[in-house]
């Protein structure tokens, strides 16, 4: 017998049209909140509350509209995070071509107002710092440094840690115990202290900072790759490959690595966020990239000495960039982990 398809989208008790109407209502209300929150002459705190409420309402509305149209509930947070990262990366890549204010040359900013508060439609939409340098431009250029350093560090850490992990997991025995001692030794040193120690010795250049940060990622990458390699090496396809005459190198590169890559990749995304924070901490302590060259860390440190009390935006602007980026990487990494772990468990 033929059963008519239910009109209700999966997981909802409302019909499609009802859901769409609720979504549209929420969307409009959310947008209104955003506009009011941004432009109303209120204290900063009230503004922030209104904007936050606007963001939440808008995303809920958007999610319901998409749900009604496509029949399946979208994960709106994932979309927002992806959108933020895509926007940030695009802007960071195109920074020299964009009509941004001065970000580093103090001399050319002599005429600009100092400590200007954010004014969306002015010349400095996110305000200026003590030298009159544009905070939006500094945040975007800061993103360049932060992203380059953390991506480079994660890449180094993954390649080195991942390959050591696969080798240790495949051969076990001797190699494994040597690697085990090495990883445990690295993990025994508190990462921030290790970074500070390295920071005082090394030149604060992008390459050196990336290398120092890579050192933090290596042990966890080794552990992850090793554990996954051990699990996959017991699968029969490894035995099958050896029965066909595959060399050990081939087994590791062609059979194991593609399978270990998925969990490692989701770990990479989470790691990026950890390293962005670590880099910011180093810069905040003055051990990273030196001012006036902007990074989010040294921008935040400009709020020291009472500046933050008088001009909170000097800290809040780079702080928001840092928060949103770290949050997005973390969330996406977590989603990736959940999805790929479930899938490999199923296979």
């Amino acid at each position: 017998m033929f059963m008519p398809r239910k009109q209700t989208p999966e997981g909802s008790s409302l019909t499609r049209t009802q859901l769409g109407a609720v979504g549209a209502g929420l969307l409009i209300a959310g947008l209104a909140l955003l506009v009011v929150g941004w432009s109303a002459p209120l204290v900063l705190f009230a503004k922030a509350v209104l904007v936050l409420a606007g963001v939440v309402t808008t995303s809920q509305g958007l999610s319901r509209v998409v749900w009604a149209v496509r029949g399946r509930r979208p994960d709106i947070l994932v979309w927002l995070c992806s959108a933020w990262l895509v926007l940030l990366i695009t802007v960071a890549l195109l920074a020299p071509l964009l009509p941004l204010g001065e970000h580093v040359d103090v001399a050319s900013a002599l005429t600009a107002p100092t400590y200007q508060t954010p004014e969306l439609l002015s010349e400095h939409p996110l305000g200026t710092n003590n030298y009159g340098l544009d905070l939006l431009a500094r945040s975007v250029y800061g993103a360049r440094t932060s992203l380059v350093i953390s991506l480079l560090a994660v890449a180094i850490g993954t390649v080195v840690g991942g390959s050591i992990g696969v080798v240790a997991g495949y051969f076990r025995a001797g190699v494994d115990s040597v690697v085990g001692i090495f990883t445990n030794a690295l993990l025994a040193v508190p990462p921030l202290i290790l970074l500070i120690a390295l920071g005082t010795v090394l030149d604060p250049k992008i390459r050196n900072i990336a290398l120092a940060l890579a050192l933090i990622t290596i042990p966890s990458m080794i552990r992850l790759a090793r554990a996954n390699t051990i699990a996959f090496a017991q699968r029969e396809f490894v035995l099958a490959a050896r029965a066909m005459g595959a060399t050990r190198l081939r087994v590791m590169v062609r059979e194991l690595t593609p399978n270990v890559m998925l969990p490692v990749f989701s770990m990479m995304i989470v790691m990026i966020s950890v390293l962005i924070v670590a880099e910011a901490s180093l810069s905040f302590l003055g051990l990273g990239i030196q001012a006036p060259e902007p990074t989010w860390g040294n921008m935040i440190s400009e709020g020291e000495g009472g500046t933050m009390q008088d001009f909170p935006h000097v800290v809040l602007v780079p702080g928001t960039f840092l928060f949103l980026t770290v949050f997005s990487f973390n969330l996406l990494g977590e989603k990736a982990q959940k999805r790929w772990d479930a899938r490999s468990a199923k296979i």
């Binding site: 029969e236 396809f237 035995l239 005459g245 199923k346």
Partner: protein, 329 residues
């Protein structure tokens, strides 16, 4: 052994595979070891199928893998044709053992989940190289896929999780065939499959054996399945041979009490007395197997002699060899 011995070895013919006194032991803890396989002898004639029958833990899978040298056995010799595999250098061993291929129990686990069917089947060619153009290579893959009953155009770009268990097992067989093997070792190839799909794979194995001129070792726990596909059946218990018997009328001629117990355990029919008498007794630990005949702790016919003296394989009827002091019937 129940027992040891070489009475069942056929010296007159030229076997494709000979296994002499194969021993596999795994160290566990201090000074203890698992006696997984203890002195296995077998020979396989061209075109023959040898069934290896036993419960889980009897060492049948370990024996199959040790024949492939994955890992190499503790001692014993394996000859593939004239070539001795044991003690070969890694490189030579890789080449020599490629002429033996293995079909394993869990077809989804024996295929790399990240690979597509075309790459899985072509894996052997990728390892050993292929003399010919890319078109010839693709034609060969398509031909082999068709031979195992898969439509190449449909499965070409699929990954294992997009295939059913039976289809995965067909891919495994195709992949093995690409190596032009002489011997196919099937380790419980149908026990992970749906009932309605098992017969497809058994028929396919039978047909491919004829078509590709293979000899086969078929390892399984199911008496009916083993009887159906084999010419000769070897029954293992705790790493030793109990009985070697032509599959023909094994259900009536089997003489070893353990073989009779396996026959009786088939749900449906069989004599219940033998099965129930062994009910209370559990499989002894392979860490410390019983003296004499290893089956004596569960054997309804065991006597003092069985504890003291290990029975040798002897010919009871033409072609039927039993390692037992008190064979049935």
């Amino acid at each position: 052994m129940a027992g040891s011995g070489t009475a069942h070895m056929r010296s007159t013919d030229s076997p494709v595979l000979t296994v002499d006194d194969l021993v596999v032991e795994f160290p566990v803890g201090r000074k203890q070891k698992v006696h997984a396989v203890s002195g296995l002898n077998l020979d396989l004639l061209p075109g023959e199928t040898l069934g290896i029958l036993g419960e889980s833990g009897c060492g049948k899978s370990t024996a199959g893998r040790a024949v492939m040298q994955l890992p190499s056995p503790t001692s014993g010799r394996v000859h593939l044709g004239e070539r001795e595999l044991t003690g070969l250098k890694t490189r030579d061993l890789r080449k020599a053992r490629a002429r033996m291929q293995m079909i394993m129990q869990d077809p989804t686990s024996s295929l790399n989940p990240r690979r597509k069917v075309k790459d899985l089947v072509a894996e052997g060619l990728a390892i050993w190289g292929f003399d010919g153009t890319a078109e010839e290579k693709e034609a060969r893959i398509r031909e082999t896929l068709t031979a195992v009953g898969l439509d190449p155009t449909v499965v070409w770009d699929r990954r294992p999780h997009e295939l059913s268990g039976g289809q995965c097992q067909r891919v495994c067989i195709a992949r093995a065939l690409m190596m032009n093997p002489k011997v196919l070792i099937c380790d419980e190839p149908v026990s992970a499959l749906d009932v309605s799909v098992q017969a497809q794979i058994l028929n396919l194995l039978e047909r491919t054996k004829e078509q590709y001129d293979l000899s086969m070792i078929f390892i399984a726990h199911d008496v009916s399945v083993v009887k159906n596909i084999s010419d000769r059946v070897m029954v293992l218990y705790l790493g030793k041979t109990c009985e070697v018997i032509p599959s023909g009328d094994m259900e009536t001629r089997a003489a070893h009490p353990y073989t009779r117990m396996l026959l009786a355990s088939i749900p449906g029919a069989g004599d219940r007395e033998v099965a129930s008498s062994a009910a209370a007794v559990e499989l002894p630990s392979p860490l410390n197997p019983p003296s004499g005949c290893r089956f004596r702790t569960r054997c309804p016919l065991a006597t003092e002699r069985c504890a003291a003296e290990e029975p040798e394989l002897r010919e009871l009827h033409p072609g039927q060899f039993v390692a037992c002091h008190h064979p049935v019937g």
